[in-house]
Symmetry: C2
């Protein structure tokens, strides 16, 4: 079923059908009605690709995520998708996987689909290879990185001051008399390195010496990973008083490890996560967490992309402020 089929049966030209579909003025009410009736009769809907070809506009945007199963990423994608769908855009959301090569490839896939805008979810996209791929394949398309940044004229970044936030976490622990504090990293990403730096700066500011800076890396970004890392800390430093984790998911494994090894939380050791995720509300005790403003971050990113889609493509860099949500684990 095409406009020609409709046109033939209505006894008009295809252009007339096109005009009716697009609500263009200057059509006799009678013919308009006849055409509309046929459109309804056959449930006809114009082909978006064909229309896109002539209009030079696909009304598609791409959302690249390392792994859509990660809750804070998909939560953010949800917010952005809602906003863009409302404005008539179709979002193609893809899981790239962790490797840089794949991320670059997926940018190429998006070029192939001629997307008009791109969201890159997470600091993991702030890499040189991604930058190069953007320059080669999407040099003009508005791109927004959520919690990341690349210095390119068509790329914007919305960031959170997670480094300062972690520093405040350290402050909070010190204010409760906890001075021996460790930091657990779930993976090496720009965002996590910033968090680690916040930990280091906070500790230094409180007069910690080098050997009092305790950074551990979880074997994987999971509950089990947090469990393992925490067990190691608790064994190697039984007098530890506080642990800050790069994400809630891993912190939640830490809570279990502390319980299993007989450490009382928060009396003996205080635990803090990052993300303000559902995980932190489910565990026992409930997790104190650094809220990195995912909702606002996503809304802001969607807003910037929307401006870009409307023609105002420029590079911007915004910063939001994190805050601590204190619950039962501190």
């Amino acid at each position: 079923m095409t406009i020609y089929d409709i046109a033939k049966e209505a006894g008009v030209a295809a252009s007339t059908v096109s005009r009716v579909i697009n609500n263009k003025p200057g059509i006799k009410a009678e013919t308009r009605l006849k055409v509309q009736e046929l459109i309804r009769k056959y449930n006809y809907i114009p082909d978006a690709a064909a229309r896109g070809l002539v209009m030079q506009s696909t009304r598609m945007v791409g959302i690249l995520i390392v792994d859509i199963r990660v809750t804070h990423h998909i939560d953010s994608a949800f917010v952005i998708e809602q906003e863009l769908t409302k404005r008539g855009y179709c979002c193609i959301t893809m899981s790239t996987g962790p490797t840089d090569e794949r991320k670059a490839e997926y940018i190429q896939l998006l070029e192939q689909r001629r997307v008009e805008g791109v969201i890159l979810m997470g600091s993991m996209f702030s890499t040189d290879l991604v930058k190069k791929s953007i320059q080669e394949h999407l040099p003009k398309v508005p791109i927004v990185i959520v919690n990341g940044y690349l210095d390119l004229p068509n790329v914007s970044g919305v960031l959170v001051d997670e480094d300062a936030g972690v520093e405040h976490c350290v402050d909070l622990l010190f204010s409760k008399g906890k001075q021996k504090i460790a930091f657990v990293l779930d993976a090496v990403s720009p965002a996590n390195l910033k968090k680690r730096q916040g930990y280091i700066d906070g500790m230094r500011r409180h007069g910690a010496a080098n050997e009092q800076i305790l950074v551990y890396e979880a074997p994987e970004s999971s509950v089990a990973g947090g469990y393992e890392a925490t067990k190691r800390i608790l064994v190697e430093h039984p007098d530890i008083q506080g642990i800050v984790y790069s994400i809630d998911l891993v912190a939640v494994g830490g809570i279990r490890a502390a319980y299993d090894l007989g450490f009382r939380v928060p009396e003996q050791v205080s635990l803090i996560g990052i993300d303000n995720s559902l995980y932190g509300e489910i565990c026992m005790p409930k997790l104190t967490t650094l809220d990195n403003r995912l909702q606002e971050l996503s809304e802001t990113a969607a807003g910037i992309l929307r401006e870009g889609l409307e023609g105002n493509v420029q590079s911007r860099k915004l910063m939001l402020f994190s805050r601590i949500i204190e619950r039962e684990s501190t």
Copy 2:
């Protein structure tokens, strides 16, 4: 940049460029090389929409989900997306929201994009309005419903025997001497009604009278909803011995409610969830849960859709078997 631009600079015809791009045989090695060089020079990639128009194939599939933030739905979508992306399809994943009208509208959106296959995630899509919309808009496109079914020649369903599974949960509780058992429903969906039926059948089989069938509805599908419902049960029936929940997320709220009200789990009251989700591993005690085989369900759905995409469109109905994973809450 189009094939014509490449062709002109290479001093050949557009069709020659097309042949090179598509690796067609019968091109002099010399010209092939020259064209390939220019393609690389300009990072040229053919427009998927234009190609789709002439090939009559978009290589796009749609994945409709009520809410992509629901973990078991997005986990399933991930598996399917991986499989289809690997085969060169581009997935457009959309959150429809809970209303029937929106679900029907989104099916229309997918028609507009001329998708070649559709995944409908969850039993919430087994409704008359969705069925009608499929008949009107996508009567020929292969469609697979994950954990749902519609009687249409182009629609397949992959289901889990969650009713029998819940019956086994009731059996498990009885085997531990727990006879006073309630069931909590997080929402009214075909799948949840099946689960409820399993509870009722199980109770009846163990000789329960009507007044011993205790079905509660959580005010919302969330931790808080499960908390509220459980509090009500515990207050109205302080001698309750077991509670089965329609999903882990809600069960996890129940664990907290039991703790707050001073009920010991599992000694006093045993709790069972459904989904085998991460939530159940995070909470304390860890949740016994009915594994509804999400992974296999998704793989099977992807497999059936793949067959449909390859031309073998037919209506099929498959059933997988759930199993109980016993942890600390029973």
